[in-house]
Symmetry: D2
Subunit: 344 residues, 4 copies
């Protein structure tokens, strides 16, 4: 009989921390034994996230109060930079799923360029496995440290990886126009995240190729193609809490593109490719670990659009993290993740 | 070993039908064997509700195409009036949970008064048990036909029943000011339900004591009190999809009221009474079967407010229905219902 | 010919400041000559509020950079406490409309009780006129300093003043259940005001009779009645930016109540009393200076509900302020305020 | 002295009709003398649109009840196809601004192809002027019949016309990724327009080059370029009522593109070009006749993005219509249109 695994969550007072708790709450073989939140140490999770008040959870503590010897796996949902400082000091045998950006980039120079500083935990980086489950599954199973992907980066990769792999599209003319809900920006109060600022409007941000998730696109797409691939990528902030949906404009044959995606994801439980010509909706994956993908041809021949949507807090971060943790702990990959989307 | 139960859902193309499917999808001991939708018969559920496309579900059929001999329990999510016509013709031994208003009122005259017509299935009405689980649990266990409550009616009763029972409040001065999301109004297109009409605004409706759920308040509160009790009740439509939250204004001692609620719900898994003086939020129960209740004293002595919130599609209808079905099928009451709320 | 008036706005970087600019932008006889914002001094308004970029406005400055000798009237949209400190040092002849809470309460002890501190500008308070235009019009015309009302306080008073005046309702049993959009809470970043926290949910706050606008209700209603009147008042925060709507539960004859309101507001351009039995919607006053009022009888005899709605940023604060300024400057009261609501 | 003009509005019960009334309500030289609504004839506008209840408006009538001899200009806000049938029977001397799609396309075959039927009023079409004010101003001044543009079509053209004109971009590689609020879809109840369907999500529609506004892009861009130009265009439906924002991906020099737009719109009152590198927001034009445009370079050299945003009901339809009507009636072009956007 499989034993229940002891889980710690560092940075439990943010949205991805809360999402981890929501998911693990119904996971039959995980038990949360410790949760940290530096500024809110001493508080109960029910005070910080009243929607979790029905759960019997450990009190929030500071990281250094946690006895990691009893922990089978640790989720690290800390801000980037903080994450590398903390993880480099954790026991070297502890299994870790990191949700920050700190271990996503294999090239320290790329890290320095996009994140504005030297990486302070390069030996951890050296062993980190990139956490896009469907494409790094075997490595994740044996990894000690898995680096969760950016939520936008996951969305774009689900649309594009099989196409680049199969050589079906023009690698020099890829545009990802992505729309995202606001929860990905976190819970720290900022003027631009206020309801009064966001409701009933939309605006592009990080325009011109400045969004940090481009570093992941560059790394992954170039690795697949075996040559540099640089996409054009613009995110737009929507008046919605959850959900990312990306229109990916490519040059190639739409039907072959469709077949490639269909075949790539045929055995993937969480990847749903819609019938050819149908568009998915971000609201139809809300609260779930599913990614819906649609493909259409354009009226202009030789052009196609791939549309991918997922919930940024679930498949885009905490759900992905749990899926990876299941693999690392030799549990069924889908355990705790099979809930249907919440609609309406 | 408990056997998997075969489930039918009539009226699966509405929001409560979809919510039933969402919940049953992760229920370990239920299997959906038939789903009806008269106008959409022949379609797949994935076309009607794309968020359920990952599930392997039976094709939608007309009711008369269903072989009920293989069905252990049937959820009936049809419009009122239709429901009584259909249920009166179903096999007399079939266990049924009805989500319509048709079997909620024990007095046919009350039904005629509030729903504007003669009841055509009075013999079914005679055996129907009112489905407010926490208060009719024993009857539900042995019932053949359970009548789901109104979603507003459930919310108000959770706040008030223990107080009336304990004789703690003035029965002649109860005001329920309730706010509700829009999904309770269903999926049929109406001008007043359009996004462009509702977004960024709010308005009371069914004002002056005309909302049909008052019939349930009258029936239940009077029965508890042993004398006629008539509350004042106003619903306000919010720009939100899910969630009901009610401010219930009562005259009585706030601390005794708090103790009565605390004690009434102490052993109830889905009922969460907040610390005295705290207000719940509808967003903290979204997508879950939980009901959060808060109590405060007013600055005016002798007055208190009870605030109750639940998700109208879950605890207010389909979640309640599943909870009752579990009881009727001798399954653990909470099975399939333990998911945490989805926040943010 | 009437001369164009020179206007200053202190605290122009908040929502009420921006709303003043929006309104004055099309006012034919007002010209904004100075705008202050302490922390944003030196910035252009187009940077702080891009929706105003088409306007030719003065650069934001610190208050002490303003030459008040050229100013005909000054709007003060500063936080409470700051406002009294600033206003007590402005020229004693300068006409001022204050939008803060600082000069609303005539009794310094009430101020200290509700706002938690000694009032530091009592001699200004002594000359301040309470700014509920329709009821203090004559005093406002000759006032030097007008104290804008609380937005919730305005809403409740529009529903109740004529009824208390006419002796039509039970003064000891008044409940104001009010729903409000989020812009009234201002632009300072706070966790509870984030889109991700507020969207798709609602929650009561300042429960139990603790909201500061109660001080205005107490003051005004008691003055009208000639005896202490204390109402029960609960606000609920809605997922909407603008708009307040209040259900006011009273005991009295609904038709007489209706007639009293109808007659009170018959000649008031901005007050719209709906046909008896109809409920207003907050979305139908958005962006305008109108207040819509509905009245209905309840099924319980002797009970009525008055529903009042207005836009908190317009009729509830900046529109009211401009209406008062027009009076103080001997301009037509409605000038710059006649725009229709923006719907949808 | 300029005389007040008598205005008729056909199809006043839709959102563009209501928006016309909102705007004309504060127009100093227009007077609405007749409004039609076939199915709602006999009703008052206050019943159909309660936000307009403060206005003294004519009762809704059927079109054949209107005496057009007293009308100076008629706005026609009817559904397409209906519009051509009605307009072809109106007096041949009546000035008309049509808001439907019926007279936008100069080539009858294009009309038939995109709108699925033969055009029945080709002689009206022959005299119709395309209503994109800034580019057809002189023709509009002397036109009898002006065809309002599609709201998406206006947005894309504002971004692209000056660039095509100046030969600054690759004409064979233009992508318009556009996001739109829901009010553009009208007030007729449809399942896909319900709040419960749209809130908190987004989805592309009319994908693959099937949206009818492409016909306008084809016509206009090809005419400017003197050769066929076909763009790729995808709209996404947002959970917002008003506002369109388009990311227009082009190949060309970003700074030259910026200069071309800056110079094209320098004297245009309603066109606001932001500082280079800044992105506009749809919420910052809400309720106004302004169009905000931003330009940025991409990290990939030779690529740029132009972002254009406007309010679909104002600058995208009814505001544009009024701007054109002012020109046709020899009134100041901006009259009744100078209100600032409503934010938040």
């Amino acid at each position: 009989m499989t034993q229940v695994k002891n889980i710690a969550i560092l940075g439990a007072s943010g949205y991805t921390g809360a999402e981890l708790v929501r998911l693990i709450a119904t996971h039959p073989l995980m038990n949360i034994v410790a949760m940290s939140a530096e500024r809110k140490a001493g508080q109960e999770m029910a005070e910080v996230f009243p929607h979790l008040r029905h759960l019997d959870l450990p009190t929030l503590v500071k990281i250094d109060q946690i006895d990691f010897s009893q922990v089978d796996l640790c989720f690290c949902a800390l801000p980037h930079a903080t994450s590398q400082a903390v993880i480099s000091k954790l026991p070297k045998t502890l299994k870790i799923v990191d949700l920050s950006a700190d271990f996503r980039l294999r090239d320290p120079e790329e890290y320095a360029k996009w994140y504005g500083g030297k990486h302070d935990a390069l030996e951890c980086q050296a062993e980190a496995v990139y956490g896009l489950t469907e494409f790094y599954r075997e490595d994740i199973k044996t990894a000690r440290l898995v680096a969760g992907t950016g939520c936008n980066a996951a969305t774009g990769q689900y649309a594009l990886r099989p196409l680049i792999e199969a050589g079906l599209i023009d690698l020099d003319d890829i545009i990802i126009d992505l729309k995202t809900g606001v929860s990905g920006a976190g819970r720290s109060p900022k003027e631009m995240l206020l309801h009064a600022e966001l409701s009933e409007g939309a605006h592009p941000y990080a325009i011109g190729g400045t969004h940090r998730h481009l570093a992941e696109f560059d790394q992954e797409f170039s690795a697949i193609a075996g040559r540099p691939v640089k996409v054009q990528f613009t995110p737009t902030l929507l008046p919605a809490n959850r959900g990312i949906i990306a229109n990916v404009y490519v040059k190639g044959d739409a039907e072959r593109i469709y077949e490639a995606l269909k075949s790539a994801y045929d055995d993937e439980q969480f990847m749903q490719v819609l019938p050819f010509g149908q568009a998915p909706s971000s609201r139809h994956v809300r609260g779930s670990n599913f990614c819906h993908i649609g493909v259409c041809a354009d009226r202009l021949s030789g052009r196609a659009m791939v549309i991918a949507t997922l919930d940024n807090l679930t498949k885009g971060s905490s759900g992905q993290a749990l899926q990876n943790a299941n693999l690392m702990l030799n549990l069924p990959e889908e355990m705790g993740l099979e809930m249907a989307p919440v609609f309406p």
